[in-house]
């Protein structure tokens, strides 16, 4: 069976700066994979290269074993239709005067290019897709008025126009709260259950990456890839994120924090990574997760009793964390 999307010997960069070079990557049909790495590691560039938004310096992208560079423009459009894309929320102009339904209908451009008024079919598709992602109640509201979770749902609905075989999401959970992350992951699991391949990027280890079936650790190239329990190890994470990463497993739970020693500041306040984590719900749907919110800091990262309240009120992910106590277990 051919890979759904594949990068072969891929090198990319901007002007005179190489972002990554000679990279090989495959995503199989129906695979759910997470691209994990710190900010600035080149995840977005890699995803854009897969989408054809960034021209590779070298190598090629193949979709279902067909090199994109060899596909004619008209056929390329058909291929692109099979890939949905949800951009980073930071790149979107939330003050733009459009409603949620209009955003979804933008995705219908290929079906109706040169007539300004939306057709009955456009409206039906928009409402069906918004209902599918649980956002039909906000169809006529301006996008700037929506919550972060609703905005992500609307953009996911637009990505689903044309029934794509692959959905690529760039940091979909970066500014979302725990509940929104939870809901979005459920939506993606539902899509994946229907055979849609999912590739998402994240720098959030504990609340996202540990719950994906396949993880690709990425920092200017692929450091390692595999199942989270195999890949999310101290050694690999330290290579990916820099610093010293601590991984603790408790049954199904994987807890990750960073550990760094600073000579000039021997006692530093640890940044908690584990305020909210997920665990598989026992006996339920294999893809269902329940959130466990720790009221007190985890013993893995809580060396100072006096700091415990501060930890609980300032949750952050472990990704890219430079500072942590020097006496973590």
């Amino acid at each position: 069976m051919h890979a759904l999307i594949e990068a072969r010997d891929l090198s990319c960069g901007y002007q005179d700066q190489t972002i990554f070079s000679k990279l090989d990557f495959q995503l199989q049909p129906g695979q759910f994979s997470g691209l994990v790495g710190p900010s600035g590691s080149g995840k977005t560039t890699f995803l854009k290269a897969l989408l054809g938004l960034v021209q590779p310096w070298q190598g090629q992208i193949c979709f279902q074993n067909r090199p994109l560079s060899s596909i004619r423009k008209r056929s390329r459009d058909t291929v692109n239709q099979k890939i949905g894309y949800v951009p980073q929320v930071e790149t979107v102009d939330w003050n733009f005067p459009v409603t949620a339904a209009e955003v979804v209908m933008m995705g219908r451009y290929r079906a109706r290019r040169f007539w300004p008024l939306p057709s009955k079919r456009d409206r039906e598709v928009a409402h069906h897709l918004l209902a599918r992602v649980g956002a039909s109640d906000v169809a006529h509201r301006a996008i700037g008025e929506l919550s972060g979770g609703q905005q992500q749902r609307v953009f996911l609905a637009r990505a689903l126009v044309g029934d794509p075989e692959l959905v690529i999401l760039d940091e979909p959970t970066s500014s979302a709260d725990v509940q929104t992350q939870h809901e979005l992951l459920h939506l993606l699991w539902d899509l994946n259950d229907r055979g849609v391949g999912i590739l998402l990027s994240t720098h959030d280890l504990n609340s996202v990456a540990t719950h994906l079936p396949w993880v690709v650790c990425f920092n200017r190239g692929i450091v390692a890839e595999g199942r989270p329990q195999d890949v999310l190890t101290s050694e690999i994470l330290s290579q990916t994120f820099g610093g010293d990463m601590v991984v603790q497993r408790e049954g199904d739970k994987v807890l990750i924090a960073s550990r760094a020693t600073s000579i000039s500041h021997p006692v530093q306040r640890p940044r908690p990574a584990l305020l909210a984590t997920y665990a598989r719900s026992s006996g339920g749907h294999p893809h269902a997760y329940c959130a466990i919110r720790d009221q007190a800091p985890s013993p893995v990262i809580a060396p100072h009793k006096t700091d415990s309240q501060d930890f609980a009120s300032s949750g952050q992910s472990a990704g890219g964390d430079p500072a942590a106590p020097d006496h973590l277990p």
Binding site: L53, P97, M106, R113, P116
Partner: protein
């Protein structure tokens, strides 16, 4: 009644009202794209840049609309090119537009055969519009409105999110070029009416008022077009009675309209908050 109809006894005045309301409508429509795409500064700069093309066209004997239009189009493309080459967009606009404007002034000050009024180029001279200009403005307006109708969907997507639009098959580079052409055509046709320095207000103010009144792009286009035509028509009309420059009159009336819209929007927002508090 006779007092109100008095200006219409002059052919040039009727012509001015017709042309300015058409130009106002067009600026209103294009203004929605320009403001939501955050290109106001480019439009402002290009209006200055076109002066260079206008003066050069006059000196070398090329048709004003053709020469200035091509010049403006080239300037827009040059700004886009520089912006993609490590130069910040606002710096690129500053460099290209002031260089072109300076070239226009240099030619005016050295070329003895230049008999056109420099003030008219800067501040507009709608009352001096020739009958043939009416047809040019009408033709350009219809052409631009037709293009906007035809390319509404790709232009909307391009305005909202250029990158994702490309993924969905929108030819974004073609949209860049098309819009640069449309912008140059708009500025060239309205230059004679409002002048280099004031044309931007006809582009930005009606669209900004429309944004305050609506959260929907399509509604904004209609509101902005109506307001643009209204401000131009009544701005010129009032200029007759107030005996002030027509361009200045249009800008001042638009600004008054904007002030009213901001006040209304603010009061409306306060009322909404108060209503919410009562509900709670």
């Amino acid at each position: 009644m006779e007092l109100f109809l008095r200006p219409f006894q002059y052919d040039f005045f009727t012509r001015a009202l017709l042309v300015s309301s058409m130009a106002g409508l067009l600026c209103g429509v294009m203004g929605v794209y320009i403001t939501t795409r955050r290109m106001s500064y480019i439009a402002h700069g290009l209006s200055h840049a076109i002066l260079g093309g206008a003066v050069l066209s006059y000196v070398i004997g090329v048709n004003f609309y053709l020469g200035s239009g091509l010049w403006g189009f080239a300037a827009a493309l040059l700004i886009q090119y520089l912006s993609s080459r490590k130069i910040y967009a606002d710096a690129a606009i500053g460099i290209v537009t002031t260089a072109s404007f300076a070239m226009g002034i240099a030619i005016i000050s050295t070329y003895r055969g230049f008999t056109q009024s420099f003030e008219a180029a800067l501040f507009g001279n709608v009352l001096g519009i020739a009958p043939t200009d009416v047809w040019v403005v009408l033709g350009v307006s219809l052409a631009l409105l037709g293009l906007i109708f035809m390319f509404y969907r790709p232009l909307l997507f391009w305005c909202f999110d250029r990158e994702v639009a490309k993924v969905h098959g929108v030819p974004v580079l073609s949209m860049d070029v098309l819009f640069a052409l449309m912008l140059a055509a708009l500025l060239v046709t309205t230059l004679q009416i409002l002048g280099v320095t004031m044309v931007i207000s006809a582009v930005v103010i009606p669209a900004s008022i429309a944004r305050l009144l609506s959260d929907r792009f399509s509604h904004m286009i209609f509101i902005s077009a109506g307001l643009g035509a209204f401000f131009s028509l009544f701005g010129i009309y009032f200029s007759y009675y107030l005996d002030i420059a027509s361009g200045a009159s249009v800008v001042l009336l638009s600004t008054l309209g904007f002030a009213i819209a901001v006040t209304w929007s603010r009061l409306s927002h306060k009322r909404q908050i108060a209503a919410q508090k009562v509900k709670i």
